[in-house]
Subunit: 552 residues, 2 copies
């Protein structure tokens, strides 16, 4: 296992992907270096992937939005001759811990969702040009795009062979996207998922698995035509110049990670990490052009990138940290000023990208299987976008008045318009709408308090925090909560939180994280898949897996 | 383990429940006999329950609808002095196989859904009168009712202590109903689920956990008042007389179960059961009154009861049977005549009950974790309600023309109005609407064919069956399908089918079976819960469970 999995990369370091720019079209070429796996023990043959490959993909998808506003269509294609992608690497999966498999699937799901978000939220459309085999996670990559072209030859197929081949499920949304996005008839979907060799040609179109099949002789032209059609429907800004996502600033210590506007402190004995977000260190820029000029230094973007990286780091590199404690430091009014700036410049492409990036980062928090708590104390700046983090938490505690020996003003929380629509959860509702599902009038009451600094008892009365506590109770109650939480079963908490966080409607996204993931996690533990005689372990040995036939 | 778990019972045999009738109100009194557990090794103390207790509850809920149309309100209460119910018996859970735990939870969920269905579909409202502790499954019983009254005393509480006490989740819809039915704010729900001792008094109302708290001195009157209010809102028929759900006819052999209108044949080597439904042996009665006169002999009701029992028998007693093959024998026109009769008498209480019972039985099939296939051959009667079973299947094969040496007419399938609304799935859509999610025009095409006998190629063209096959291909293709299905991993199939069967919207029901159940099944396998040092195993030993802190 690598010492630390790093989610930061940039195109100059890519081993597995190439980005080629052709005006309003970009080509995202998958050409996996089979000898550059993240861990030892497997080769990434046939454009199969591991977490390292997906970290590069996530980086590319992100850069396409921020660095290339001119790109209207991204063509996802393979750089290999006879294969599109064989999906997640099986030997990697077979050799991974349960935790790594689960976290790997979660991150790859988030990346595919990010592709769909680029299309839905920013008009940067994805098109998948499949030549050769797109199997398992390979086809799931295609499923995350807006339009799938399949070469009409003897070799090009789409397949979800996980069940027949490996006794597991497609782990990156395949089942959900087949039935709910592409709306494949359920019996055909069932048949498709049991055909190890996949489906090709006209049948793939008839079953709605791809949008178009084209003979090789006309394939490249058809891809270009489809790209042009998608580009014509895109609302990407004309003439905009991207900003550079320069490396984020961070230093790692044994029990801390320090970013420019965020710090993570880990208490290993207590199994918790405290994430402190720092408010703005400057006022909003004077104009949208000045924001572009600031680029990655622009506070909301800088903080979102650092927060995103911190969450991913904790997920993968600190599995025993069960509790994330969110704190903040700064001026609430300064945060609100940035929210107002983003709101006022909502039609500017970069402001739009930043808001959607915060949306994705907040969603990343929502599906993080750690307990989440916000501690709102004097000197904090839980306002607007930063307050949204408190609403993402399982619990929030707010101190009434000051604490002994602290002459700062009492803590306040403030709402901005960003709390009422900019950051929908996976279920399609805002966090406040989800929170107040049973009392919609509370949303109106919160809206009426927009912009006002709300002290602890106001927040409790408005239902915006779980508890407002006097100083004398604060220490005890918070300590008891933190200790109690650390005493519970990690797995039980994961299941409970995955259920309680997403009241209300379901979407493909919540189905993928709630339903498909839960079944996959179950199967990932079952002997039929993961046991010594299971399909994952026996894959490629020439010996058939030995299955317990019991149906559960 | 008992030789065979029997789902048939009647009030004269109840050990754990009493039904008391007071005009339009019935009291369903839980008074569990602690020495009458279904298996050895535990006592059902404190009104805790096992599958045997729930089989009686399911029977009571069913009889209340059919035998007591006069009952408008069912008051669920405890027969014990200081406890409402301690929920599922922990020693039973700790001593059960993974498969039994999962099947136990599935059945108890179906029973609670049946209570909600009685209220929503038939105006038979449920009211829960909680005195004493309602913990875990005890509170989940209350959650399945329309109105919860809690005694306001030092002893009466509601609680979901599964996580802190046992490291598992509430297994009978508790998390989903707390957030989605009662719409408890998520942070309060989180707090509630970690408070082992539960919540009582005014706080229980404030948190929306119960509807009303009442001091003991006024409790009984408040229950009566609430019952009267619910009764006033009920549309149960006035003056109707119920029918007796007489014992169903069946005989068990080593590899077969024979019912009056259904037979089950088990091929253990091939690990499949063939369920053959027999069409009507008489025409529909002349009138609704004549239907009441026939009572449980009325063909649609008789068949539904037999099918329901067969499915439950296979689930619990035949875990290695991975594939259910549905066949039918009879006259399609005769089936359609019964559908027309039920449709024409839709406003009659008994017709309504029978249609809703079919709806529930079909849903029971939907959530059965076995592969489902319909074989539609000459002599079959897949029409209307019986055709709906084919639409519940993962695949369906239909023979074109006749088979060699068989001079019967070619198989036909026919649709009735029942296929277009009477039997919604858990997702709220009809099976045809779910099937044709991607091509709504196909629903119109199917509707245009209403009542017409459709031969195999028509059915394939209309998308009503997976494959229409010539005799020469039939034997091979069906054999290959059956063998292939038996060769796949049981767990992988379970996960795949649970995902593919429920495209489209989600409801509390699909969340409970899809999301909550999947997480619970995962947790039921984790060492923190089920291991030798896990919380389930160590419960009551005085030794604390030893948890792996790793978050996954």
């Amino acid at each position: 296992m690598a010492a630390r999995i790093d989610f930061q990369t940039d195109p100059s370091r890519y081993r597995h992907w190439k980005l080629v720019f052709e005006g309003e079209v970009a080509r995202l070429v998958m050409d996996v270096d089979e000898n550059a796996g993240l861990f030892e023990g497997y080769q990434l043959k046939l454009n199969s992937y591991d977490l390292g490959v997906d970290i590069e993909l996530a980086d590319a998808v992100q850069r396409l939005r921020f660095e290339h506003p001119e790109v209207k269509v991204v063509i996802l294609q393979s750089g290999k001759e006879r294969v599109f992608s064989a999906g997640a690497n099986i030997r990697m999966l077979a050799g991974s811990s349960h935790a790594h498999k689960v976290n790997f699937c979660k991150f790859t799901n988030e990346t595919r969702n990010a592709m769909e978000d680029a299309s839905a939220a920013s008009g940067q459309k994805y098109l998948c040009a499949v030549r050769g085999t797109a199997a398992g996670g390979g086809y799931e990559l295609a499923l995350a795009t807006d339009y799938i072209l399949l070469a009409d030859d003897a070799n090009s197929t789409v397949a979800l062979p996980e069940l027949p081949l490996l006794a597991v499920l497609p782990g990156t949304g395949g089942l959900t996207r087949v039935t709910d996005k592409r709306k494949v008839r359920r019996d055909l979907a069932d048949a498709f998922c049991t055909i190890e060799e996949g489906v090709k040609g006209a049948r793939a179109v008839k079953w709605r698995l791809v949008d178009q099949v084209v003979p090789n002789s006309r394939f490249e032209q058809a891809v270009k035509d489809a790209a042009a059609r998608l580009a014509a429907a895109s609302d990407r800004p004309a003439g905009a110049k991207g900003i550079a996502l320069v490396p984020i600033e961070r230093t790692f210590a044994a029990d801390a990670v320090t970013y420019s506007r965020l710090k993570v402190e880990i208490d290993r004995t207590a199994r918790r990490a405290t994430i402190t977000l720092l408010g703005p260190d400057m006022p909003p820029p004077a104009s949208a052009e000045a924001m572009v000029e600031q680029g990655a230094r622009f506070w909301p973007l800088r903080l979102a990138r650092e927060l995103d990286d911190a969450i991913l780091h904790l997920r993968l590199n600190e599995p025993d940290v069960g509790l994330l404690v969110f704190k903040s430091q700064g001026e609430p009014a300064a945060v609100l000023a940035f929210d107002a700036f983003l709101d006022a410049n909502g039609s500017h492409w970069l402001a739009r990208e930043i808001v959607h990036y915060w949306k994705r980062t907040l969603k990343r928090i929502d599906v993080t299987s750690r307990s989440l708590v916000a501690l709102i104390e004097p000197g904090s700046c839980f306002a607007g976008t930063i307050a949204e983090i408190a609403f993402a938490c399982d619990r929030s505690f707010m101190l009434i008045g000051g604490s002994a020996g602290d002459n700062r003003l009492p803590a306040t929380l403030a709402l901005s318009t960003c709390n009422f629509g900019a950051y929908p959860m996976g279920n399609g509702l805002t966090r406040l709408a989800t929170r107040f599902l049973g009392e919609p009038a509370s949303i109106d009451a919160a809206r009426a308090a927009l912009g006002r600094p709300l002290e602890a008892e106001d927040c409790e009365r408005l239902g915006l925090v779980t508890s407002a506590l006097e100083g004398i109770d604060w220490d005890d109650e918070v300590r008891i909560f933190l200790e109690e939480r650390a005493s519970f079963s990690a797995d039980g908490l994961t299941g409970m939180e995955a259920n309680l966080r997403f009241a209300g409607p379901e979407t493909m996204e919540t189905k993928i994280f709630g339903r498909l993931t839960a079944w996959q996690n179950w199967i990932f533990q079952r002997p039929n898949a993961a046991g010594a005689e299971g399909a994952l372990k026996r894959y490629g040995t020439g010996v058939k897996a030995n299955f317990n036939p019991e149906r559960i």
